[in-house]
Symmetry: D2
Subunit: 404 residues, 4 copies
């Protein structure tokens, strides 16, 4: 047992920390201004400052570090995790600069693992080069997305094509015109076994019959600076049969495979966010004077700070251990821990953000800090991939079985 980073990880951490401090964080203001000046408010990924920073990241070897194997940096989950945490310290910009932003990361993993050579040439390569963006279309408005077998969108074979009909929503990134390709989950065979009815298929965003209905909002945010969350309607959308990812009926298994690493990334970035919130809370508490002394001297504020530290330390270790398990015994062996971090992360980080907000007073809820937007983002994680309650229920069942 050893809680220290290995040499490669530590080296990358130092490099990334430097790049964050010197380049990414100071560019945030320019990024916001350039996004605000866009003609198409959703085309955030086109702004010049992003291109500049991406080129620099590439030069520094901080590009595609999320991706294991030859195509990426060849890091393990445990090695990438601390880097993901660092990007979470500037969550609106850093992941994109490193080409490590969801949902592209998961989509690239799917294409790298399950895509044909043609699919990889057409979609994975430009994604890896950061030339296009992608979306993952899973959630549907009319069914509980907590159960992946619920998807109702129909993918029907018709000659050499598949014809797609149905609705999706909360498709993150799909409002962005640079999002060129969607991986769409649907049903190819409603009569098959429960976990073999679903397939995944590649649908270019400009395919006729695919309508971007509207952007969904979270609290009052449309998240245009990340490509928003689209509601989509598929009406007789026709794509070649070769667009299928894997075989018919593989959809559920691919979705499961996609989950594990994505969960780690999400959780580590959220921890980075929590650390930034703790820092902001501490600084504000030291500076803000009420009733004649800094509020950092108030016992209740100190309690929040101590709690935040105690909670985030525990959480980080659990996420790192989960990454280690995924590396050593695989997603399946890490199943309980992958559920556990899904449960533990959003609520821990949400709690810390709430206290950071409270320490800032009304400014903490306003556009003058990033705290409220961060809260909104983290709040969505309590539903993402199904509500926490579903995961708790499953985790408890496994625990009960172990003692039966």
């Amino acid at each position: 047992m050893d809680f220290g980073f290995d040499a490669r990880t530590e080296e990358l951490r130092q490099e990334l920390l430097g790049f964050m401090d010197e380049r990414i964080v100071p560019s945030l203001k320019v990024f916001d201004e350039q996004v605000a000046a866009l003609d198409d408010r959703w085309a955030w990924s086109t702004v010049p400052v992003l291109q500049t920073l991406r080129a620099e990241a590439r030069d520094l070897g901080l590009w595609n570090v999320f991706l294991p194997g030859d195509r990426g940096a060849g890091l393990t989950n445990l090695q990438y995790a601390p880097l993901a945490e660092i990007t979470g310290r500037c969550i609106r910009l850093a992941p994109a600069v490193l080409n490590c932003a969801a949902p592209d990361t998961g989509n690239m993993e799917v294409l790298a693992q399950f895509g044909t050579e043609d699919q990889q040439a057409e979609w994975l390569d430009p994604l890896l080069r950061g030339e296009i963006r992608s979306a993952f279309a899973m959630t549907e408005p009319d069914v509980a997305s907590s159960d992946a077998t619920n998807v109702e969108l129909s993918i029907r074979r018709d000659g050499d094509d598949y014809v797609i009909n149905g609705r999706k929503w909360w498709i993150t990134g799909a409002m962005n015109p640079e999002c060129r390709i969607l991986i769409v989950m649907g049903k190819t065979d409603p009569t098959a076994d429960r976990h073999r009815q679903q397939s995944m298929i590649l649908v270019p965003r400009d395919t006729p019959g695919l309508e971007v209905v509207r952007g969904m909002e979270v609290f009052g945010y449309d998240d245009h600076d990340h490509g928003g969350h689209a509601e989509l309607r598929f009406t007789d959308v026709r794509v070649p049969a070769s667009n299928l990812v894997g075989g018919e009926g593989d959809g559920f298994a691919i979705a499961q495979a996609r989950l594990g690493p994505g969960r780690i990334h999400h959780c580590m970035r959220s921890i980075g966010l929590a650390e930034v919130a703790i820092e902001a809370m501490c600084r504000r508490a030291s500076e803000r004077v009420a009733f004649g002394r800094p509020i950092a001297e108030q016992g209740v504020v100190r309690d929040w700070i101590a709690e935040s530290r105690v909670r985030v330390e525990q959480l980080r270790l659990l996420v790192l251990k989960t990454a280690w398990l995924m590396d050593t015994v695989g997603n399946k062996g890490a199943h309980t821990e992958i559920q556990a971090i899904k449960i533990a992360t959003p609520r821990t980080v949400e709690w810390i953000l709430d206290k950071a907000i409270q320490t800032h007073g009304a400014a903490g809820l306003s556009q003058d800090t990033d705290l409220a937007a961060a809260f909104a983002g983290i709040r969505t994680l309590r539903f993402a991939d199904g509500p926490d309650e579903v995961h708790k229920n499953a985790l408890a069942k496994a625990e009960l079985r172990r003692h039966a």
Copy 2:
């Protein structure tokens, strides 16, 4: 001891409930459309449907029911409280329809109680008729508003005028061009006793030197459908000395007097909101199917529902008792309870909203329900009139004194 409503209250409740069901709630959609179609996005109070509904409210005797005495409906706090709760069930529209919306209510109370005849003729009467709107400018960006003695805005006597310099923010309603008058709190004499340095003064919104800098956002909402929350800059703003409300040094006392009833109104409306959220949670839980059965059959969801009921019942009683105390022993005698409801209300209602949101899945955070916006609104109450922590500290000191 008697927990039943008196006859007058019950009669008004029935009338208001009917008006809500038949007229106000069904008009919400039209209201939203008319607001969305405005040229000036802040001018919400000009939309036609509001005028129509206000006329009907006036005819039904549901106008200005918040105001005690001859000018209003002559209700006690305890009689008005259950009506305020009902308006909370449609918080975006009902209070405005009844001319019972903050901050106008508190401002009308101040003018009715402390205004001169001229001030009343010029500002109170049109407010009571619903012809104009108003704002209350207290909070400042650079000082902790938890301590009202902190205000730094300067009100300096200069001949027959006062000259005002300083900054305010979170001035609710002040983005609305129909907001014609501001009651501004500032310092007239920084050398006086700590609670005698402050005064309140009437400043028409179009006075030269008063600049509306921007609208503050709460989470991503600008609350334009309530007139927003303005940041204001006062640069040599000059108003006649006769605009002073009460005498020099009365500012703190007037602010205190304004607090009590406003707190009751806020809390009761929040309880109405909580009731609507519980209903929405129950309906959604009954309708939404996951894993083959309505989520209403899940133990954890039932726990949320039961908790919501148990908590809101206790909260309502405390608010009603506080209203009764204000009526019978006055604001001062009800001091502890007024603090207690300030502490208890936001967190209770926030908790219920969080569970209602969770029950709705991602829809609960989006523009498709009112839940996230309600959460945002309630969240601000944990700072409004000072953070809860300040009130808890004061309440504890009083408790400690009692057992010394």
Copy 3:
């Protein structure tokens, strides 16, 4: 709506408060000494100081005040509730002094309401005079007592007798040799309707075949100063058929009727206990110095004190409203509220006791204060009459029905 006590209640409150201060509280030490000196450690009710105080209570008209109607003081639930709270301030002694201690109170109510004249002459009258004590035998070791229909103890008719076989445990008071009579719940007809299988029967404690197996402990306490909690074994226990309370099959209904007032009493006494704990917390916080200042100046301690006040105020109002509902619309109409106070009371009071203990340091857990014993007692309430979770589930179902 009126939150003030009526004249009769206020008069009795003042009398009881005086009696508490002057006589009961100062006698606690003597009571403990006399109990410690007993030959039979369970015979607490025989100690001389109790007899003296009871005589005084009788003279003051503070005797049997719990009992409505002619036999008692004729108070409503709403009138008795504030008195019960006061007795909770000295929960180890005051209820017994006033002959208002559980389980005798509930048993007297059952006998008064459902007993025959003979049963009343033999058992109710000496109970009302405080000459004997009683127990209520409902809970069984092998079945979930959350569901009263679960009882398995068999009551079988045999000629002019009933023959009883089975086990009970947690039968409070039954270790005390002065406990002369048990009301025993069992099944007379396992084939009847689910709520008509149960009957209640009177069993003198010295009936052959009734074995007192042992005293159950709660956190190390055997509660001998209240008669303990007995495990009982019934082996062919034979009593005359005339010992049945009500008719065969009435057991469930009688149990339900017994619940309502008992719940109010329990809850109000618990609130009295909470008030004493708050006082102790405040006094200790003011006296104890750490790091150079009284711990009452620490923000976290103040937070506990404020929270305690805010929570207990809400709780009391809910219990009082429930009493009022029982008086005005009956147990059935107050069903939701009776469940709500069962849920809200133990956790609220437990939380306050936990903080009072923490404020006292290790002394708070020891025999040097009453806090740990109080915690243990309150902790049991989270199971008593079924675990809170069962009540929450039922309350949620009712709420769901209301919005269906």
Copy 4:
């Protein structure tokens, strides 16, 4: 970074797990019977079954495994920690069988690190052989023990002796007649620097003037099966100057050094306890039927189980990391983490125990399970070495400094 146990640890774990299953756990009943049959109820360590098991532990190489260096098994903190967790699964017996029970462990560490050769020969060796037992006398009734500099007991030099006067309480183990030696913390020089006033001195329990006043109780437990918690009075207790541990003024530093490893042991044993509680909760939930199905199928019970797993996994990792830090950067470098585990452990384990109790119904609070006694023991940890609140305050101050 590596989350797997090393080979030595894994080997010892397997050996200990086997010894627990085959010998220790099955002996618990006999142990209880033998303790119950003692003439001196405090002399628990004399019972025969303990001697037998200790001999077996010695043979298996599971003796003194807590102690680093030659005298013990030479394990690091990180290697011993998982063994300590396993002993926590049978906390009433296993630590004693392995000679790894507090407070002897900490005392042996002090003597090994700071004792003279003579002191080691006289006291450490018999302790290491398990022939005698010891106590650590730090806490005092009249001062807040959260601040070690507060101790008031006087240790005054008088010729070749020291003379000791003062009071101590909560001296764990000191009721046991086999406790032969106490390490007593007191003040040798009240005029020295704040952290140099204190010294530690060895006082044989039979020294004249040392009076064992009484055993303190925790809830209703006197913990006689662990030697209780004594209140002690020192009246002119005279010991040779050579009994001083370290030099005059070293007391505070020795106390600090003693804290770190003890904290790890405590926390890991508590985690073992939590694991046993989770198992008990799962088994009970699977077996207990209410309303026609095992309560394991109730969502709320599942929520408790899932929460327990999620919380304990995080906690364990934090404790293990702290052990690793102590091994790699020392107590000082691990300061924040040592505080963090002190804060996180008791509340986490207490929460789990509370739910395990609730799952068991009233049996969970009684002598029929170990749960309530475990709760009582864990509850004391929220004060031990100072209340959690003091540690949170200090931790927050360090965090604030880091961001200043």
